[in-house]
């Protein structure tokens, strides 16, 4: 009875096979735009990158297969080793700033009264809304040793503002700081959402048993927060490698003397400044392989300790 009702129009009831056929095709019809786009603009380029990394692309001539020559060329190039090493520095120094520092901020906001917490949430979100272009321009200006904001505070005190961005020994740390400034607030909001979902009864009962704030934090809050910490750690790696492109491009251009370039930026430069498509593709692939290995390592190290509440 109900089956015949759900079939709907009489026409469909008369031709069940045709209708079943249409039902079969419908999900594919719905999916076709997405699948077409992903195939053309994500998965095909992925395969094409692999291809480009093992050929020599020549104008007006067919591509020449060169095996691993592009990779060998990369390993010999000093800018590649500089970029690879910088990528490691970017990730290693960004992780504590972006993953750990937001935790106490979130806990303190959480402990503030409801009205203060709402205000803090809004303020913490603002750097997420600004584009990285705006953030980069903002900090170039703040840090400018001649006419920036910091120097106008330091000069009356008889101090000189160091040229952080044009000094090879400080430029990369400056960019790490700026990119952390952009995301710390957002990550704190992620932790705040995690904290808000912790049942109050658990905290109350620990307190009744005489536990201190520190003990509650260490043995209740942090374990329950661990899925969020894990998630933030994973996304921060990808974010650091990708998004730091903009501050590098705007604030230093990879310099001075390759001090701030990373593998993504190097791939961009090879593609659009030296027009070496093979090297650029090989760099992008090596970066991807490195990130994949890092993600697997982290999943193995952290995954075992994550507590899903």
């Amino acid at each position: 009875m109900s089956a015949s009702l759900t079939l709907g129009h009489a026409e469909a009831a008369l031709r069940p096979r045709a209708r079943r056929h249409a039902r079969h095709l419908l999900p594919w019809l719905l999916l076709s735009p997405l699948l077409l786009l992903l195939a053309v603009f994500t998965y095909w380029p992925l395969l094409h990158t692999i291809y480009l990394s093992v050929v020599d692309v020549r104008l007006y001539q067919p591509d020449r297969f060169v095996g691993l020559a592009n990779y060998q060329g990369l390993f010999r190039s000093p800018s590649f080793s500089a970029a690879a090493w910088n990528t490691v520095i970017y990730i290693a120094l960004s992780l504590p700033l972006k993953v750990l520092l937001p935790i106490p901020i979130a806990v303190f906001v959480w402990c503030a009264g409801a009205r203060m917490a709402a205000l803090h949430r809004s303020i913490l979100f603002v750097p997420t809304l600004l584009s990285f272009v705006v953030v980069s321009i903002l900090w170039i200006w703040m840090l400018n040793p001649v006419m920036g904001m910091f120097q106008s505070v330091l000069r009356p005190l008889g101090l000189q503002m160091p040229a952080l961005l044009s000094d090879a020994s400080t430029a990369i740390y400056t960019i790490i700081g700026v990119s952390a400034w952009k995301v710390i607030g957002f990550n704190a909001l992620l932790y705040l959402a995690g904290l808000a979902s912790i049942p109050r009864e658990l905290i109350e009962s620990m307190r009744l048993d005489g536990a201190s704030d520190w003990r509650i934090t260490r043995s209740l809050l942090l374990p329950l927060l661990s899925p969020t910490i894990y998630f933030v750690a994973i996304t921060s790696v990808l974010f650091t490698v990708q998004q730091v492109f903009t501050p590098i491009n705007i604030m230093t251009g990879g310099g001075p003397a390759n001090a701030t370039t990373n593998l993504f930026y190097l791939a961009y430069e090879m593609a659009f400044e030296s027009f070496n498509i093979g090297f650029a593709s090989a760099t992008a692939l090596l970066l991807f392989i490195g990130l994949g290995a890092l993600a697997a390592l982290k999943a193995w190290l952290l995954g075992r300790r994550v507590h899903y509440a």
Binding site: P33, P45, D213
Partner: protein, 279 residues
């Protein structure tokens, strides 16, 4: 966060907490106020002097339009963002409907490939995509900005979650009343997931408006250049003597995302945070 403070901090910890939050707030608010203040300064006050303007003027906001074709950049950004986000939502809505409401062979594999696309960085695919766009003749055009970005796996994922949570009874009732799958999507599901759709749209809007890498490599003239690229070019061109107009431009470029945020504050915070957690 309905109850009072979850932890009753001891006085030293409370002091530390207040200091931490004070510094965090200051580090965000002060630079922004300085930018706004500088954008309001007349040329004579730009260098040296006080951080705030003594004779505030909106002159810089007019000047920036004379120095660069900011109006055209705004038009390019607004139009391509609107078209792209609209397209992303439409594509994601249809795909999420298929993933959430239909059984078919290969569904789980295709869903995994969709999520996998989220993990594939731009850095890996930008070169072939760029070559393809040039080959199609879409370099330096709106097409090049819009079409390669129309698939938004995050949107598919979030919309699917919402559709899975959708009450089955309502759909059954619609089917009994003779609604086919299209009518069910259009008349039953769509009105009910509108808040989620709006929130995801806002998320995609901010993402697109602020994008830098793709428009940097795919545009080169006023035909398609977006505000982010325009303001960046202005930074290169000015030699320190046009700080006022530059800062006015920075404020203008940031306004749309800020305005959207102020309008939909609560919803954005919820969406971003849940998207972050699940995505």
């Amino acid at each position: 966060m309905r109850n009072a403070a979850p932890l009753t901090l001891t006085p030293p910890w409370r002091a530390i907490g207040n200091i931490v939050l004070f510094i965090a707030t200051l580090s965000i608010v002060v630079p922004l106020l300085l930018v706004i203040a500088t954008s309001l300064k007349p040329p004579t006050e730009i260098h040296g002097g006080l951080p705030w303007p003594q004779e505030p003027t909106l002159g810089n906001y007019g000047d920036v339009f004379d120095k660069i074709p900011l109006g055209l950049y705004f038009w390019n950004s607004a139009a391509t963002t609107a078209l792209r986000v609209g397209g992303q939502l439409a594509v994601a809505l249809l795909a999420a409907y298929a993933f959430a409401r239909f059984e078919f062979r290969g569904r789980d594999l295709l869903f995994a490939l969709t999520l996998g696309a989220m993990m594939l960085p731009h850095s890996l695919t930008f070169l072939p995509t760029y070559l393809m766009i040039s080959w199609l003749g879409w370099f330096d055009s709106w097409w090049g900005l819009i079409v390669p970005n129309l698939a938004a796996p995050v949107g598919v994922f979030l919309l699917r979650q919402h559709m899975l949570a959708f009450p089955r009874d309502l759909l059954d009732a619609a089917a009994i009343d003779g609604a086919g799958p299209w009518r069910a999507l259009w008349l039953v599901i769509l009105p009910n997931i509108q808040p989620a759709l709006a929130a995801i749209g806002i998320l995609l809007f901010i993402d697109c408006w602020n994008e830098y890498f793709w428009p940097l490599i795919i545009t080169e003239s006023q035909n398609a250049m977006t505000v982010q690229i325009g303001i960046r070019r202005f930074l290169d061109a000015e030699r320190g003597d046009e700080l006022g107009p530059l800062m006015a431009g920075v404020v203008l470029v940031s306004l749309p995302a800020m305005a959207v945020f102020l309008w939909f504050q609560r919803r954005i915070l919820e969406t971003f945070v849940s998207a972050g957690l699940k995505g």
